[in-house]
Structures are given as C-alpha cells and as structure tokens.
C-alpha cells in the first residue's frame, strides 16, 4: 500500500508515527518520505502501482489536502475558499481506491467529492485534528496517543476488514485511549485531562465516507502495531510555535477570508 509522509511544517509528527506503523502492519509498504512526498511523485506512484489503499497526511482545508511544503495534492477548484485550492488537482486518480486522508477539514468537502468521483471509501476528518506538541525533540505517549487511535484504521483495513468495520475499530480505539487518560494508567499524568479532551474531540471529527463494504485485502490475522516511545522527532524545532504559527495562520486566513466573501 502507499503512504505519503511529508515532514515540513509540523506534519513530521504524524508522518514519523505512521512510518513506524506502516512497517509493522504492511509487508511491503511503499513510502514517500519528506522531500520525496511531492504531489508529482504521489500521483505517479498511485497510477504506476495501482494500489487499492492510499494513506496521505499533510495540512488540509475543506477543499484540499497537501504534501511536502504544503504543496496541494488533491484539490477542488475553490479559489474563493483559499489560494491553496486554486485549481482541481488529482481527482482523476481517486477512483476505485480506499483513501485515508489524514488532514484537517477534508471531510467537510474534499472527501465527499472524492467519493462522488469514484473513490470506494475515504477516511477523513471534518474539523481540525488536534494533538499536543512534543515538549522536547521526542514524541511521547501524550503526543502519540491520538495518532495511535487514528491509525488503527489502517491496521484494520490491512487486516482485511471492511471500511465499516475499520471505522468501528477506529472509534473503539479512541474510546480505549480516552479511558487510558480518564481512568487508566494515563490518568496519573499531569496532562491527562487535556489529552482526554483532545482524543474525544479527534474521535468526533473522524468520519468515513463512501462504501462501508470496501476492502483492500483478503481477511487475515488482525494486524497490530506497537510503538517504542518516546521516539525521535525527525524534524528538530527548538521553537515550533514561532515557526508554525504564521504559516498556519496564512492557511487558515485564506479559508476564513474565503468564507466571509
């Protein structure tokens, strides 16, 4: 299966976690990492490999999901919403596949259009996917937990479950992590209350669009993954807030101003 894992502007965190997950749940993961994760390379790989399942992460808006350096990958032509959605992009490659579009907001619009264009099923988020940033150069359980819940989807699909079953597994995983931080071992952590709310918020925005019977492989043993935490963050940023904030606001600002017009 295909995994597009950009590393710029803070998405190194989900990408680093998925890289480890993919190695454990997929015998032959095909990964575009960092600077390789360009829209051109991704398109080429989708067409050449004819993979039935594609995981992609990056920044997102209702009209677009992006890859390395926030380059639009799949996009609607919605220039009034954002300059990132100036033209329709790559909707012709979605047909017949199951997609996990792990970007903010894409469930609102893009995922639904992908289904209209023939995507068999699309896992997406219809709001912002939140997480607590690592306080050091390492990703710990606090930061990783929402992603470990979310990426249960991929383990389920690669176990041969239907999309509907994978969605149930995804929801159950969020509940397990919620319990971990409310009544379980994680409740002893200082940030437990905050992380519990983040996990619940992420659960409620994580949706499945399209055909619940979609599958990408024959049913087999249940795939699982285990992360060795804390794990090194691939991109070192001493002051992530200062670096990310202005760029994030540009992206958000485009959409907000578009909404008002």
């Amino acid at each position: 299966m295909l995994y597009f894992l950009p590393t710029t502007f803070g998405v190194d965190v989900p990408s680093a976690i998925m890289r480890e997950v993919a190695k454990q749940i997929d015998g032959k993961p095909v990964i575009l990492w960092g600077d390789e994760a360009t829209p051109e390379n991704a398109r080429k790989l989708v067409l050449e490999t004819n993979s039935p399942y594609v995981f992609t992460t990056g920044h997102g808006l209702p009209c677009v999901t992006t890859l390395q350096n926030k380059e639009p990958f799949i996009s609607l032509a919605e220039p009034q919403m954002s300059a990132y959605c100036s033209q329709e992009l790559n909707l012709d490659i979605v047909k017949g596949r199951v997609w996990h579009v792990h970007s903010c907001w894409c469930g609102r619009q893009l995922a639904q259009v992908m289904v209209q264009k023939g995507a068999w099923a699309v896992f997406a988020h219809d709001n912002e996917f939140l997480f607590l940033m690592p306080k050091t150069g390492k990703i710990d359980i606090i930061t990783a937990a929402p992603f470990m819940a979310e990426f249960t989807t991929d383990a389920a699909m690669l176990s041969g479950m239907t999309a509907g079953e994978a969605q149930s597994a995804r929801m159950n995983a969020y509940e397990r992590w919620l319990n971990y931080f409310t009544t379980g071992e994680g409740s002893k952590l200082d940030v437990a209350a905050l992380n519990a709310r983040i996990i619940l918020a992420d659960k409620m925005i994580s949706k499945l669009y399209g055909d619940e019977t979609a599958t990408v492989t024959k049913p087999g043993p249940r795939k699982a993954f285990k992360l060795s935490l804390p794990m090194q963050r691939p991109v070192q940023t001493t002051s992530a807030g200062l670096i990310l904030l202005p760029l994030g606001l540009l992206l958000i600002g485009g959409w907000e101003s578009g909404k008002k017009s």
Binding site: G60, D126, E128, K135, V191, I205, L244, G248, I252
Partner: protein
C-alpha cells in the same frame, strides 16, 4: 444537574457537530450557570498543561495559556469549539445523557 441541562447540552452538542458553534454558544449563554460550569471545566482541562502547545494538521499552534485567555474572554475559535464539544460530551456521559 437537572434534566433540563441534559436537554440543553444535547442541543449544544448537535450544533457543535454541525459546525455551528455560534448557535451553540448563543444557546449555552442563555443558561449562565450551565455555561459557567462548562467553561470552568474547559479551563481546568487546559490548565492541566500550563506550558503546553496544541496544534493540528492545519499547522496552527496555540499555547494552552493563550487558549485559556480566549475562553475567559468568550472568544471561541474552531479549536476551542472542539474542546467545548469534548466537554459537553463528557458531561453528558457523566449525567447518563
């Protein structure tokens, strides 16, 4: 809390799930005691990580301190609306609603 609170919180949750947080806040504001209870819980959760930064796959980074100040001022942005939704959901679960 009374059954009426459950009814209000359910409606607030519905608004938030539809992305209509202006109506959610408007409705909740009509019940000052309930509003204060929800806000206090949101603030308490955020203050559990006083030096934390929350981000999303959108790249916007907020400090928890900044978010607390926004809640106190009644400035609900989309991220805070998600915290509100979580809090309402947790309260409904605690109330068996």
């Amino acid at each position: 809390m009374a059954n009426s609170s459950v009814v209000v919180l359910r409606q607030v949750k519905e608004y938030l799930l539809q992305g209509d947080f202006a109506d959610a806040i408007r409705l909740l504001s009509n019940y000052p005691t309930l509003y204060q209870a929800v806000v206090s819980r949101v603030i308490r959760a955020l203050e559990s990580d006083p030096h934390g930064y929350i981000t999303s796959s959108n790249g916007v980074v907020y400090s928890t301190k900044e978010l607390v100040q926004m809640v106190r001022r009644g400035h609900w942005n989309p991220v805070l609306a998600q915290f509100l939704l979580s809090e309402v959901e947790l309260m409904l679960r605690e109330m068996g609603g």
